[in-house]
Amino acid sequence: DPAIIYDLGGKFDKSFNEAGFNGATEWAKETGGKFQDLELQNDAQREQALRRFASSGANPIVIPGFSWGAALTKVAAEFPDTKFAIIDAVVDAPNVRSVVFDEHTGSYLVGALAALKSQTGTVGFVGGMDIPLIHKFFCGYKQGVLAVNPKATVIENYTGTTPAAWNDPVAAGELTKADFDRGADVVYAAAGGSGLGVLQAAADAGKFSIGVDSNQNYLHPGSVLTSMVKRVDNAVKAAFIDGTTGTWTSGVQVMGLANDGVAYALDDNNKALITDDMKAKVEDLKAKIISGEIKVHDYTSDNTCP
């Protein structure tokens, strides 16, 4: 049976891990198969958890989260016959599939939307824990904003420096209010569970927010401008299918705009917020990124943002 081990955020983080869970559940529903899963309690348990699943015969094993890198490098070598899929990190081993997302291009598009929507020329960004992966979101977002409005201001915030930052909607809400005070009228939340505070604050203030990871448009219709969806669910589902049917491929798999790995969400809840002009403009940018005409800089490639 396939297995999935969630990262410390937990199975129901309304975001990354939960998307993984949804993908696995969808697979189970469609195929009638069964899968095992486990929530990690702390960092020291990673290797052990991997070994446990591998030696119990689980195959493939999907692990969403960049923190798994070191543990997987070790364990993948010990179980050459087990297939592993890691999300958000690259591990170079013959039996590992590394799935990475182009969060920067998805963020670029929602940044462009934010700039198009903004009346004030100031937009905000509220990140969760202050780590390079979140800087990658910010950096893409900022490039997108500036592509539409080079004079725009982008305010950058993080809710904290500990993992508690993923679950601090109160701080996130205050950061959002502060952004509004400074003139922002659209704020992008890349903060896991804390993002709910951003969305709430925007709804309370009658301003706009942008959700992340899964489609959060439905949370406050009319206030959530769009969501930068990251299809972790698709990646997990694909890994389950490939791992159980013999279509498995190892190596790096990039989930980007082209294969709908990342996207901006458009549905009934935000139809009224996004005009046809805006949509046309963003679709144009999207096409250009896919074609390579526009290069969006990836923060994690060199830890800088232009």
């Binding site: 983080d13 309304k14 305010i155 950058e156 508690a164 601090d168 909607p169 701080a171 950061l175 502060a178």
Partner: protein
């Protein structure tokens, strides 16, 4: 920084101070009675969960508030049973309460709501909304006073006002009433209270009851006033900050307000400093430094100006007559 921004920052200060202040006063009652309370965090968390659960189900913020208070009182009574009746170690008991709240809130949230331990977003009526005080819009045009009244004093939810009202009330209770006299005495010398014919046990339970109520208010503030729904571990260490503020304030109510206002202000400042380049520095201030600023400043102030804080003398020691 212009005036508007200052006002909005001070308003944020009040919002951020509120839960700290409530928790700090809660701790004040408990510690003044001689019971250490490191479990403020857990009580707030449990109350936040209780309040949000009930508010989500009933769409009634008042029922939510009551539920939060009830849950917090229940936790407080566990603490009382352990540290008053069973004469156990008050710090272990507090640590246990923090663990219990962290585990139970998420566990129950998972089984009841299936949303990763969160409660559903609150429906209409389930949340305390900002109140506009009378004449706020009328006088907002008047320079200085207008923005101060309309932007700073008006426009908070009711729990904010309750928290600040609790300060004079606490001072009055502590220094002007029989209960306050006895409370102050029992934290200093329970034997003196006992030999004066007053039950130490009863007095301490009463204090913990008040602690429970105030922590309940603080917890409800998190989930059904400032926020909208419960999130895992959403109190994020505020209970410990409140404890620090209490020591900072040397266990006195008015000073507790100033101490928590300081923390609230530094937090608001931190939030506003993020993402803005400080003029004239020539280098970018790392965001981590700004985030650590409240804590660093606390240490500096403490070392520089506050001096020694001596708490209630009988604090932390269970009262035993025999053996």
């Amino acid at each position: 920084m212009d005036f508007e921004l200052l006002i909005s920052m001070l308003a944020a200060t009040l919002r951020l101070t509120t839960p700290l202040l409530l928790a700090c006063l809660a701790g004040l009652y408990s510690e003044r009675s001689g019971i250490f309370d490191i479990g403020l965090e857990g009580k707030m968390l449990a109350a936040a969960f209780g309040a949000a659960s009930v508010a989500a189900l009933t769409a009634n913020m008042w029922l939510g508030l009551l539920a939060g208070i009830a849950v917090s009182i229940a936790m407080s009574m566990i603490h009382g049973a352990a540290s008053i009746t069973l004469k156990g170690n008050q710090i272990i008991s507090g640590v246990a309460i923090n663990f219990l709240a962290a585990g139970l809130t998420t566990l129950l949230g998972l089984t009841w709501f299936h949303q990763g331990g969160r409660t559903p977003p609150l429906p209409e009526g389930g949340r305390f909304l900002p109140i506009t005080l009378p004449f706020a819009s009328e006088i907002s045009g008047i320079p200085v006073i207008g923005p101060i009244y309309a932007g700073l004093i008006s426009g908070h939810n009711i729990l904010v006002y309750v928290a600040f009202l609790a300060v004079p009330v606490t001072a009055w209770v502590l220094y002007r009433t029989r209960f306050g006299l006895r409370l102050r005495a029992v934290g200093e010398n329970p034997k003196a209270v006992d030999t004066a014919g007053i039950s130490v046990t009863r007095l301490r339970y009463q204090a913990l009851l008040i602690t429970g109520v105030l922590c309940g208010l603080a917890g409800a503030y998190f989930s059904i006033a400032q926020g909208s729904g419960f999130g895992n571990n959403m109190t994020a260490g505020k209970g410990y900050i409140a404890l620090a503020a209490l020591i900072f304030a040397k266990w006195r109510p008015l000073q507790a307000m100033f101490a928590t206002l300081l923390f609230g202000f530094l937090d608001a400042l931190q939030i506003r400093l993020q993402g803005s380049t400080i003029p004239g520095l020539g280098w970018e201030v790392p965001v981590q430094l700004i985030q650590a600023l409240p804590y660093i400043l606390t240490v500096v102030l403490l070392a520089g100006f506050i001096g020694k804080a001596v708490g209630p003398k009988a604090g932390g020691v269970p009262y035993t007559k025999e053996r």
